[in-house]
Every structure is written in C-alpha cells, then in structure tokens.
Amino acid sequence: MSETFGIAEWLYETLSGDDADVGDRVWTFPAPQSATTPYITFQLQAGSDTPFFGDTPRMMRGTYLVRCIDKGWSKEDASVVADLIDGLLEKATGTGTDVAILGCIRQSPFEMTETSDGEAYQHVGGIYRIIAEATPAQ
C-alpha cells in the first residue's frame, strides 16, 4: 500500500481525536460541497523519497496542508480549531497501513481568506512536514 494512504489514514484518525465538535468533520481535501462548516481538511502538497539499498526501508518526506475551513468573515473559530489541530499533530508519531510516522512538525502557520460571490471562507491551519518509513506487510 502506498505510504500516502497510510499517512492519510493516520492523519484522519489523529485529527478525529479532536472532541471539540469538529472531530467528526475531517476530510481529505476537498471536502464535499455539502460538508458542514467548520471542518478540517488535509492534503499532500509535495513529497520526496529517500531510497535505501538492502533491507533498510524507504523513507518518505511529505509536506501536508492541514487546515480548518469555516464560513464567515471572522477567523476566530477557525483559529481555535487550528490550535487544536496543532495540539494533535505537533511532534506526533504513529502508524498507518504499511507505514510508520516517525515525526510530524509544523513548518509554518497557514492562513487564507477565500471570497466568492460575496461570501467568505476562512482557512486557518498549518503546513506540516511528516517523515514516514515504509513498513510493508511481511
């Protein structure tokens, strides 16, 4: 199984650990148009592999955008959720299918305001770097 699948699985489970009403609203980006705001999305922005010879497993470095998206002109609620996201992910480790997450650190905060047809959406979160090791099933 692809490492990105295992990482997505780990991100979904970890972010769903948020019990502040948003934990049941976690999506791989993009969320369905019918999704209720605020919600959390994550997506792979870039990735690279470090291959090794022999039995040493391959390492993958992925850059993920993890954010809360909320409707409205205020960033306040989205910022609260962004803090929860950071609490769950910063320096977290874990496992997903065929992958071990060795580390997750925030590279930079993320903020974007989207305006469309007179409506605004706030995107607040962070760019996270995830280091993972492939652990293929034996």
Binding site: P30, L65, E114, S116
Partner: protein
C-alpha cells in the same frame, strides 16, 4: 626569565566573507531563476494556462546580497496552489521549492568549498 610569545593572526575574514557572499549570491540568484522556471513548467504541465496571465505573473527579484524572492502578483495564486471550498488544489509552488532544496544545499556547499 625570558618569555617567547607566538601570536597567530588570521585577518582574512573580510576577504573570505566577500568571496563567499559573492559566490553564494550567485547560487541564490540561480536557484531563484530555476524556481521560477520550475513553477512555470508545472503551471503549463497542469494545464493551468488559459490567457497566460497567471503564467506570466511570476517574477524573480534579487532583494539583497543573499536574498531573492520569487512571486506572482496575482492574488488568486494561493487559491490555485492550495485549493478553495469550490476548487481543488493544484500544487505548483511547494513541489518546485522542495525539489530545489537538495540542489541548493549542494551548490551552496560547493560555493564555499565544502563539497
């Protein structure tokens, strides 16, 4: 009782600094040029060219001896890179920048004589 003093003086830091700055400045400028080129290639490869306005909105600029920026003056650039509620993402900046991390580090080391 006599005392022998040996004083070792190395006062070439200024020259070294100037040489390194000059070489590293070139590396940074080249990296900025390469980054701009990679971003534009990715924009084309992902079929994001309609009028060409976004493609041609990318610029590189030297902003200091050891600093350069690569930027687009189109405010919808982040929408394309990260996606919106109504539009999926098409990353073209992050992969380009991360792809140059290794070559930049190698070129910087070579520039200061630490290959």
């Amino acid at each position: 009782m006599s005392r022998t003093t040996v004083q070792i003086q190395f006062d070439h830091f200024k020259e070294i600094n100037e040489t390194w700055n000059s070489r590293l400045g070139l590396v940074i400028q080249k990296t900025a040029n390469d980054l701009g080129g990679l971003i534009k290639t990715s924009i084309e490869q992902q079929g994001m060219v309609d009028t060409g306005a976004y493609l041609n909105s990318w610029f590189g600029e030297k902003t200091g001896d050891l600093e350069a920026i690569v930027y687009s003056d189109k405010e919808y650039g982040p929408y394309l890179e990260y996606g919106t509620v109504h539009m999926t993402d098409r990353p073209h900046v992050t992969p380009a920048a991360e792809g140059l991390e290794g070559p930049f580090a190698a070129a910087a080391k070579e520039a200061i004589g630490h290959e």
